[in-house]
């Protein structure tokens, strides 16, 4: 299996789907000649031309609004919102248009579009360029939320997202673009709504998303040295959520830590924890621990940003407090 980066995985998913399906096109700010703010769409303009790789003005409202319109009219747009933080600019288009059209129209419409956007802190990009806002989207019925953590997952899931007939928000943690990993050769896809067990363990389940999957795997190494084996579960999709895999794991281990980079309060972790309490209460041998960022905007200074970000030590401490 070839080793490629997270960024290359997304790029190749886009290429493959564009080659396969002429209805697929991408649009967004600087996605063309510039190749995307982070370089994800490099080479697409050359291969597919300006009809299918559309550089837009700075106009998020229109990017998403137009995507909704195009999707309703039968195309399969893949708009890019450069930073997830800018979703605020086009919330109406996401929440009131894309999400609800099918339902409001009594199932008579479908909106097959995939919004790609970059989340996450760690670059010193401060409060308006670093957020992880997946919980906002996961709260809106009608939207699917995908948050991969490895190149292989990113590629397989992006392909499924593009092929999905529903609006999907595909969230890419910007600190992971450089992470490499092996990716299956040839065509493949990963169904939306299937969690993946990134490491097996018997003593506690750690449900982690995106960058935190990597922190959890690092924590697993540390804990293993002390004889504690954690199972790292990556839901990969937050909507729909693979409850079964999570519950299964908790049934096995009896202990659950949920970690995400987003602010803990009101985060997806709360939803997962609540789900486990509701549906797997009897599996629990200890209280559930949630780990997330503190309730504050993301600071600029590197030392503050480091303090802000949840990490390996938090996971180690949380697990140890349970076993």
């Amino acid at each position: 299996m070839p080793e490629i980066t997270f960024l290359e995985a997304i790029n190749s998913a886009l290429k493959e789907e564009m080659r396969k399906d002429p209805n697929v096109f991408i649009l967004g700010e600087d996605v063309g000649i510039f190749g995307g703010c982070f370089g994800v769409t490099q080479g697409l303009l050359d291969e597919f031309g300006p009809e299918r790789v559309l550089d837009t003005p700075i106009t998020e409202t229109a990017i998403i609004g137009a995507s909704v319109g195009a999707a309703a009219a039968g195309l399969r747009p893949v708009p890019e919102i450069m930073f997830m933080d800018f979703l605020g600019v086009c919330l109406d288009e996401v929440f009131n248009q894309a999400a609800k059209m099918r339902y409001m129209f009594g199932g008579k419409a479908k909106i097959p579009m995939t919004i790609r956007t970059a989340c996450g802190a760690g670059l010193g990009a401060a409060a308006q360029h670093s957020q992880s806002l997946e919980a906002w989207i996961a709260h809106i019925p009608g939207l699917k939320v995908v948050m991969p953590s490895t190149p292989a997952d990113a590629k397989g899931l992006l392909i499924s997202s593009i092929r999905d007939d529903n609006p999907v928000v595909f969230i890419e943690h910007k600190m992971m673009y450089g992470i490499s990993g092996s990716v299956p050769e040839g065509e493949y896809s990963i169904p939306l709504g299937k969690a993946d067990i990134k490491r097996e363990g018997k003593d506690a389940t750690v449900v982690a998303t995106a960058m935190m999957v990597h922190k959890a795997l690092a924590a697993a190494e540390t804990l293993a040295e002390e004889g504690i084996e954690i199972e790292v579960v990556d839901p990969r999709c937050l909507q729909p959520l693979d409850k079964e895999t999570i519950l299964h794991s908790v049934e096995k281990t009896g202990r659950l830590v949920v970690i995400h980079e987003a602010v803990k309060i009101g985060g997806v972790g709360g939803e997962i924890a609540a789900m486990v309490v509701e549906e797997g209460f009897d599996y629990l041998d200890a209280p559930i621990k949630r780990i997330g960022a503190p309730f504050t905007p993301i600071p600029f200074a590197s030392n503050l940003e480091n303090a802000y970000l949840p990490g390996e030590e938090d996971i180690v401490a949380a697990v140890k407090s349970l076993v």
Binding site: F34, T59, G88, L123, F295
Partner: protein, 320 residues
């Protein structure tokens, strides 16, 4: 009103300060001392300095991601700016905001902004406050050609026009929104044309000509203070550096950059000063040297400043 000789010299110094501040920021960024993004203002100095020259104490400014020049022109402290760029406790925002969020409320400076196009409605609101308080103040909003496509600008212009707000909208048309040339991102040549849709004056000036910018701003601010409502001024200019530090600028030619470098706004002011006999070549050298020292002092201050304490992470989220 024409600029007095002293005022002119002061504006000249501000332009040099901006230039040197940014040139040193290039170095600091390259040395890894500045986290995150920096968007530099080199080449556009005449616009910020020309506009702010006319402003008084009660006036507000809404800035952009490319805001260092706006704040220096407004009288910002380079020490506190560098400290903020380096994420120090002593910085303008205690290290919490960084380059993209520098603000100085004592100067009515409502902050740089990480969201393109966020400024115009904020400026409209500040202008409303001026009008409400009848304090004769105006609000100035800087925004780019790229931002001129945001709905926020149009909504703000409309609101300001119907409410006759004392606001001045300055479009810094540097021909690009990141990689996108104006030619591709809008179907007009002059952003100023958009004023007609709101029934307000719109003019285009050479943004690299301090005097042209000043004159246009003077007129617009006068109108605003008189209660005649907002004006849209488009300053045509050019950023010498990439969109942000690290941008390989594949979207424009070296030749284009060279052409614009010949239109450097700073020597144009210097020439006028020499002509007026306000400045000699020798004195000019001293001016640059003096500002260089000031800049170095600012950097030294920043570098010797402590990092914010981790305990400050949770402070300033809410008022007490």
């Amino acid at each position: 009103m024409t600029l007095s000789k002293e005022k002119l010299l002061e504006l000249y110094k501000k332009m040099i300060t901006i230039r040197l501040f940014e040139e040193h920021a290039v170095e600091l960024f390259a040395n890894g001392e500045i986290p995150g993004f920096v968007h530099l203002y080199i080449g556009e100095e005449a616009t910020a300095v020309g506009v702010t020259a006319i402003l008084g104490d009660n006036d507000y400014i809404a800035s952009t991601h490319r805001g260092h020049g706006h704040l220096i022109a407004r009288g910002g402290d380079v020490k506190l700016m560098y400290a903020e760029l380096l994420g120090r406790k002593t910085g303008y925002c205690k290290g919490k905001g960084g380059s993209m969020h520098i603000a100085d409320m004592t100067l009515g400076f409502l902050g740089a902004n990480g969201i393109v196009g966020a400024g115009p409605p904020l400026a409209a609101g500040a202008a409303f406050a001026n009008k409400y308080r009848k304090d004769n103040g105006v609000a100035v909003c800087f925004f780019g050609d790229g931002a001129s496509n945001r709905g926020t600008l149009h909504e703000a212009l409309n609101l300001a026009s119907i409410w006759k707000l004392p606001a001045v909208f300055i479009c810094e048309n540097n021909m690009y929104g990141i990689s996108m040339n104006q030619e591709y991102h809008q179907n007009i040549k002059d952003v100023a044309d958009r004023a007609s849709a709101y029934g307000i004056p719109g003019i285009s000036v050479d943004g690299n000509d301090l005097f042209a910018v000043f004159e246009a701003a003077e007129e617009a601010v006068k109108r605003a203070r008189q209660g005649d409502g907002p004006t849209l001024i488009e300053c045509k200019t050019y950023r010498w550096r990439g969109h942000f530090e690290g941008d390989p600028t594949v979207y424009r030619s070296e030749q284009e950059v060279e052409t614009w470098k010949k239109k450097d706004p700073i020597p144009r002011v210097k020439k006028r000063l020499l002509d007026l006999g306000v400045l000699t070549e020798q004195e000019d050298q001293a001016v640059w040297d003096e500002i260089r020292k000031e800049i170095q002092a600012g950097i030294d201050f920043a570098k010797s400043s402590p990092l914010p304490d981790e305990s400050e992470l949770l402070e300033d989220v809410y008022c007490d």
